[in-house]
């Protein structure tokens, strides 16, 4: 039983011995050579040790040290675990161990599965009261020590924490291959491994590669033709510059950043509310890339744009970065919610900018990296001084913080709109309640009829049978069904005893008479009581009172089904749904307050206690706001402002050119988004468990140059794209020969880490969709603005699972809603990243549902059909049509064989639909559509070489 009566501690005969021991144990000097009193020793061995062994050792001994606590030797007991000493010898009331086994504190109960019996609790209380005599001097060695983090000193020597170097450009043998220093670094390592780079890719491959890479769309046949025709040395650079200046560059590369920023248009997690204002952050990111906003500035604005002296609407919108996370909005424990949110912010900030997994340090020092719990709470103090939640809420759902840009007029207008929505909602609600009241009234008027009809079937009767009985009598079948069940389950209810007796005797008339009489009498009596002065609210006659109560009990035998589908007839239901939909649609389309998601400031905390094992209920020593020790660039400590959270100082430090990580992490991302793999493969983890850089000097050289260029992202692109490294073919001539004796490059470097060829890359979800639309002339290329079809904070789904979000917009996929908990199926199937975690490198899986989507989805089939129509409308022959289809979809002309195959295929499919009247034009169009769809589904379309 959970709550054993707690017997008063009996101060036993061991008391004297205990006191002596207490005096001794209080000074650790004599602890080891204490000689235990014989009786105390016996008590320990006979009573205490068995309890510890049986109930505690499993989790608190050499084998497993949960909570940092070991109870298998004396010093372990005295020293305690994360929460401090487990006992105060001689004082059970002050001993955590005793508090835990008493099971009174819900947050500290041991053993976790079952409370000890009161007898055992008393034994341990006695033992502590005695001074906890304990002969177990020697610690059993802890054989399985878990990993421990690096020390700060070792950490400073770890590659990613060392200052960014400016390495010399290496000498290479094949100097003619080197177009810019990037090539020198890559070639040097290839040569060191005895490898040679693949030859340059052909021009068609190149323009397809760079176009997808920079704007996420395929090149048009005209663009391909122009590039092929341009034989100047500058041909490639011209294409590159054209693409870098395209507004679609920002759409493609902004989307990369949104992966890192775990961007979404809804909260997800427990309460999926629309982030109706998130699009402003999305637009901010697109603009930042298009305008080549220096990356250090981009960082500062996202973490502390509200605190800049020159803060404006744009910089405040940028702080949406910190608010976009998924939050448990209905979490009733506000303190937990705040700390969970800070954890999300720290983890995201760490992974996005520093390649560090701060989330691991919430509960304990990092197991692998030189990050301490003090570092975590020093940062958490800054974020706890930051405001992420507003003061308002809707019911139990907390509101996230927003920056309002609304004028007084806007506010007045919004009030009107809110009122209109409320009015529509209440119209639906009041229609519903009126309809239910009406149903109740009807049921009450026929109370006797229900009881009579209930004799005609068993409780287990199928609803169809009940319907057949109810219909001719004008009764509601579900109320009748319920009435029968109610009678069945309430056989003890004296009011219904007559029903059961008479029903058993098959006396239906008796039931009719009995209940009709009593209901009528009750109503008459009630009417009379109402007329008395003063009116009587209840009846005095118990029998009549019970009759009225039974009829009026909302969950009684005449209860109306709570589900509207069951309660209402078709017409009423349709009207109710219409009213509900009207309210929903009005709300979905109503304008939002001009505002953006973003953080503000909160009561400033200069320090925050360490949360032991991450629990906000278990606080340790306070730590002052600070930057993580291992990354500090100076021993002189900054002074954080007393009146501000310190976010601005934090991000200025992060974005300083002395910081070892920020520039490295970002240039590695850029590299990864060009080559399909970073120089460090784990783009979010530059720690010990992350990958080591494949080209460490190159990484530093790039980072150095990036900072020297004023953190210009476009300069970084120019450098990388114009290298020979980027322009290599995706197949190496030595590969095919490996079957013959010589070793191929794949034997030396199977994962192509050294870049002896270009990596084949599958298109990402958005590119697949946009390409299908683009080549069939369906893509709407407009940029920016709100696109999620929901009002800010509107439920995506409430308790119903009806999905009102549509994805049939023809705008670029960047502008399709990103609904957490229910991603667009195309996104979900093609490895769109989970929009709750920063992702720098997307997976690229191959699963059958992807094939289903290419085979059967409206998107693909509509596009194929549209492309087929375009082909057929042109005045050209079938060969030209096939050529055009290939040029549009895969950027090349088909071979003679491919043309013949295509024409044969189309002919075969068309002939299947030949009727008596000859070739059916619809059949022909459909055959072309099936052919175009096949091209969309082909590997050549989906993979970029």
């Amino acid at each position: 039983m959970p709550r054993p009566p707690f017997p008063p501690t009996t101060q036993s005969t061991f008391r004297l011995a205990g006191l002596a021991l207490f005096a001794c144990l209080a000074t650790s000097a004599c602890a080891d050579d204490v000689v235990l009193d014989g009786a105390a020793l016996e008590f320990f061995e006979k009573s205490v040790r068995p309890i510890l062994v049986e109930h505690c050792y499993e989790c608190h001994s050499a084998g497993e040290v949960n909570g940092g606590l070991r109870l298998d030797f004396r010093a372990g007991v005295m020293q305690g675990g994360d929460t401090g000493p487990s006992l105060v010898a001689g004082d059970p009331e002050k001993s955590l161990l005793i508090e835990a086994i008493r099971y009174k504190n819900r947050d500290l109960q041991m053993p976790p599965k079952n409370a000890l019996s009161p007898v055992l609790v008393a034994v341990l209380e006695n033992w502590v009261a005695m001074g906890a005599p304990d002969p177990r001097i020697e610690a059993v060695s802890n054989t399985e020590t878990g990993p421990t983090g690096m020390s700060i000193d070792d950490g400073r020597k770890f590659w990613s924490f060392r200052p960014v170097a400016n390495p010399a450009i290496p000498d290479v043998k094949e100097a003619s291959w080197v177009k810019n220093p990037v090539d020198a670094f890559v070639l040097a390592q290839l040569e060191a491994s005895g490898l040679r780079p693949a030859p340059a890719a052909d021009k068609r491959t190149l323009i397809r590669r760079i176009t997808y890479n920079l704007i996420g769309l395929p090149p048009t046949p005209e663009e391909v033709a122009a590039f092929l025709a341009d034989e100047s040395d500058e041909a490639f650079n011209k294409v590159m510059e054209r693409l870098l200046q395209s507004p679609h560059y920002g759409v493609r590369w902004g989307r990369h950043w949104l992966d890192v920023a775990r961007y979404a248009d809804s909260n997800g997690l427990d309460e999926n509310l629309a982030f109706g204002l998130a699009w402003r952050y999305r637009d901010y990111v697109v603009d930042a890339f298009n305008n080549d906003k220096p990356f250090d500035r981009f960082m500062v604005e996202q973490i502390a744009g509200d605190l800049l002296p020159e803060a404006n609407q744009e910089t405040k919108i940028a702080t949406g970065f910190l608010v976009l996370g998924a939050k448990v909005l209905a979490e009733p424990d506000m303190e937990k919610l705040v700390m969970d949110t800070i954890d999300e912010q720290l983890d995201t900030t760490g992974k996005a900018f520093l390649g560090m997994t701060f989330g691991c340090v919430r509960c304990h020092d990092h197991k692998f990296d030189p990050l301490k719990q003090t570092d975590y709470y020093a940062l958490a103090a800054i974020f706890k001084s930051t405001r992420t939640f507003a003061d308002t809420k809707t019911g139990v759902i907390k509101h996230w913080h927003q920056h309002s840009f609304a004028t007084e007029e806007d506010k007045a207008r919004l009030k009107e709109i809110d009122a209109e929505i409320a009015k529509k909602k209440s119209a639906a609600a009041s229609f519903k309640s009126k309809a239910i009241v009406k149903l109740r009234g009807e049921a009450r008027a026929k109370a006797t009829e229900y009881l009579v009809a209930a004799t005609k079937f068993e409780p287990s009767a199928p609803l169809a049978m009940v319907e057949a009985i109810a219909a001719p009598l004008g009764l509601h079948p579900r109320i009748l069904h319920h009435c029968r069940l109610h009678l069945e389950y309430n056989q003890d209810d004296p009011f219904f005893s007559q029903w059961h007796r008479l029903a058993a005797a098959d006396d239906v008339d008796g039931i009719d008479k009995h209940f009709r009489t009593v209901f009528a009498e009750a109503e008459t009596a009630y009417a009379a009581a109402q007329k008395m002065d003063p009116p009587q609210k209840t009846l005095t006659d118990a029998r009549l009172k019970a009759a009225r109560a039974a009829v009026h009990d909302l969950s009684g035998f005449l209860a109306v089904p709570p589900k509207v589908e069951f309660a209402f007839g078709a017409e009423t239901l349709a009207e109710y749904y219409r009213l509900e939909d009207e309210a929903r649609i009005l709300e979905s389309n109503a304008p939002d307050e001009p505002a953006s998601m973003g953080v503000g400031e909160q009561t400033i905390l200069s320090s925050l206690p360490i949360h032991i094992r991450g629990s906000h209920l278990n606080l340790g020593k306070p730590v002052t706001r600070e930057f993580p020790e291992v990354m500090r660039t100076s021993t002189v400590r900054p002074v954080l402002p007393a009146g501000q959270s310190g976010r601005l100082e934090l991000v200025r430090w992060m974005s300083s050119t002395q910081h070892p990580l920020s520039a490295r992490v970002f240039v590695n991302r850029v590299w990864s988004w060009h080559f399909g793999r970073g120089i460090v493969g784990t783009t979010e983890n530059f720690g010990r468990l992350g990958d080591r850089p494949s080209h460490p000097e190159l990484l530093d050289w790039l980072a150095h140059r990036f900072m020297a260029s004023g953190w210009s992202v476009k300069d970084q692109h120019r450098l990388i794209l114009s290298s020979n490294t980027y322009q290599m073919a995706s197949i190496h001539p030595a590969e095919k020969r490996h079957a013959v004796a010589a070793t191929g490059p794949a034997d030396v470097d199977p994962e192509n880490l050294l870049l002896w060829k270009f990596r084949l890359q599958r298109l990402e979800a958005e590119q697949i969709r946009d390409s299908v639309l683009a080549v069939s002339d369906r893509l709407d290329t407009s940029i920016g603005g709100k696109t999620v079809p929901l009002r800010n904070r509107q439920f995506v789904f409430n308790h119903t699972s009806v999905d009102h979000t549509k994805y049939d917009s023809l705008r670029r996929a960047m502008y399709l809603p990103v609904i957490r908990n229910n991603l667009y199926s195309l996104f979900a199937q093609f490895d769109f990243p989970d929009p709750t975690m920063p992702t720098g490198h997307r997976a690229s899986t191959v699963v059958a549902p992807q094939a289903l989507l290419m085979m059967n989805s409206d998107l693909v089939m509509d596009s194929a059909s549209s492309m087929a129509s375009t082909l057929l409308e042109r005045g050209m022959d079938d060969i030209e049509r096939v050529e055009m289809a290939y040029e549009r979809t895969v950027g090349r002309l088909p071979s003679e064989d491919e043309i013949q195959r295509a024409i044969a295929f189309i002919g075969e499919l068309t002939s299947q639909s030949i009727g008596a009247t000859g070739v059916d034009e619809t059949g022909r169009q459909q055959a072309w559509a099936v052919f175009c769809q096949s091209l969309f589904a082909s590997n050549e379309f989906i993979y970029v070489r």
Partner: protein, 476 residues
């Protein structure tokens, strides 16, 4: 096929080219068909599991009957005489530090309990049909979680955490064991709810994509209208589509000549064939018309009240029969089904009457077909309900102690494990945290929850995080 130098490590393979629905397809890619075809396909041969220990697996597959909203344990499977005795009195001990809503005094159960079977375990009037199977049930009466809100509790139960997006338990099972049916997804979830965690409850998060659950319809649809997305093509004939796939195959073969061999490209070739097979396999499983009238009746499909859930349960059996590894069936309507903050009597009566017969039918049917021997049945909601009243006639959420039950493979039947306190508020004896439930479930499937890990973002993740103990007492 791929014995050349570009055979990648298992992990890379999973990251980049996990083909089809599971490891058999993957094995084929690696040229290991022969091994996978051997007698023990589940544990040792697939590339998904080579480093896992060999615990003897008791269950090969799981069916989880999820009752959304939180059925009340004190009104169904956990009778509390003192609650009846002290009806209307205050709870004689502390309420939790955080409760979802204001709590009233103790509210006795409106239902009577009766003992059933040889074991004599009590079941309330709400489940007269399930009660007939009580000797096969293993009641877990001390389950507890932490989150008192629906969303958090659903996520906790399905993924082990209410704070982050993590793989669902079904996904972990598929990651650990792969699949034995190449034509169907390894993990299906029938009519799941899209609210309260939605897709995360069957998502694979960072696990390979083939581990994710495939939803069949959702809670807003009747089971009869529940289908898999994009499973049908109404525009072209199957014959034309077959020709189309042949054309795509030819195109892709040509392309391979240009690119050289590549796992992902070759895998994609096969994925179209798998998809094509699934197009016919899936509707076939969902088509219940071939089931005899007696079977349909067994599941309550002849009765309007039980028809919908009966259909789901029968579909579940058909999936299990075809070796689909993890099948979830959700009882949720467009409201939060079992969430009786008020009108407990009415709501629970209605809910129980919808599921009682179908569940009993499923148990009978699985048993009759010998499937119960290696199928684990799990029943329960995201939490239980308070023994104290909310309002006059309702109960609030209670994650502190509630009942779930298991049946079938590897668990003791007619057995009650753990207990709540005298009133049913807190788990008290043999407390079974959700992590423990997960550890036990994995154990029954032959997976060690501490070793079923996936390295992601620099850390090894587990379904049970850093917790979880196997409840060995319940193992048969």
């Amino acid at each position: 096929m791929l014995s050349g130098p570009e055979v990648q490590t298992r992990r890379q393979l999973l990251k980049t080219s996990a083909v089809g629905f599971g490891h058999v397809a993957l094995s084929a890619l690696l040229g290991r068909e022969s091994a996978a075809d051997q007698a023990q396909p589940s544990v040792s041969t697939g590339p998904l599991v080579p480093q896992l220990p060999q615990i003897a697996a008791r269950a090969k597959r799981v069916v989880f009957l999820f009752m959304k909203g939180g059925p009340s344990h004190v009104d169904t499977f956990d009778p509390k005489p003192l609650l009846t005795r002290d009806n209307g009195k205050p709870l004689p001990f502390d309420l939790p530090r955080v409760t979802f809503a204001a709590q009233g005094n103790l509210l006795k159960s409106p239902w009577k309990f009766k003992r059933y079977g040889e074991s004599g375990l009590p079941v309330s009037e709400l489940f007269p049909h399930v009660a007939q199977h009580v000797d096969d049930l293993c009641m877990l009466r001390s389950v507890h979680g932490t989150n008192p809100a629906h969303g958090g509790a659903l996520l906790k139960l399905h993924t082990g955490t209410d704070q982050f997006v993590r793989p669902s338990m079904g996904s972990w099972v598929i990651y650990g064991l792969g699949t034995e049916n190449q034509n169907l997804p390894a993990f299906v979830t029938i009519c799941p709810t899209l609210a309260h965690g939605g897709v995360n409850n069957w998502g694979s998060a960072f696990l390979p994509a083939h581990c994710q659950g495939t939803p069949i319809g959702n809670a807003s649809l009747a089971a009869v209208n529940a289908t898999v997305k994009h499973i049908r093509n109404d525009r072209i004939s199957p014959l034309a589509q077959r020709r189309q796939l042949d054309l795509i195959r030819e195109m892709n073969r040509d392309h391979l000549e240009v690119t050289g061999r590549d796992q992902a490209l070759e895998g994609r070739l096969n994925s179209f064939e798998l998809a094509f097979r699934m197009q016919s396999a899936m509707p076939e499983v969902q088509d219940l018309s071939g089931e005899s009238a007696a079977t349909q009746k067994l599941y309550g499909m002849d009765n309007a009240v039980t028809e919908d859930f009966g259909r789901q349960c029968l579909m579940a059996r058909r999936f299990l029969e075809r070796d689909v590894r993890f099948v979830q069936v959700t009882h949720s309507d467009s409201e939060v089904q079992w969430d009786q903050h008020s009108n407990l009597y009415h709501g629970h009566t209605k809910n129980a009457s919808e599921v009682d017969k179908p569940i009993a039918g499923l148990l009978s049917d699985l048993k009759a077909r010998g499937l119960l021997e290696d199928t684990l049945v799990l029943w329960g909601g995201e939490f239980g309900r308070t023994p104290t009243a909310q309002g006059t006639n309702g109960r609030d959420h209670n994650p502190h102690g509630f009942t779930m039950w298991m049946a079938g493979a590897g668990v003791k039947g007619g057995y009650a494990y753990g207990a709540t306190d005298d009133y049913g508020y807190y788990a008290a004896e043999n407390k079974m945290h959700v992590h423990d439930l997960h550890a036990t479930l994995l154990h029954l499937l032959g997976l060690n929850h501490e070793r079923l890990t996936f390295r992601y973002a620099g850390r090894d993740f587990r379904l049970t995080d850093v917790a979880g103990r196997v409840a060995t007492d319940i193992l048969a």
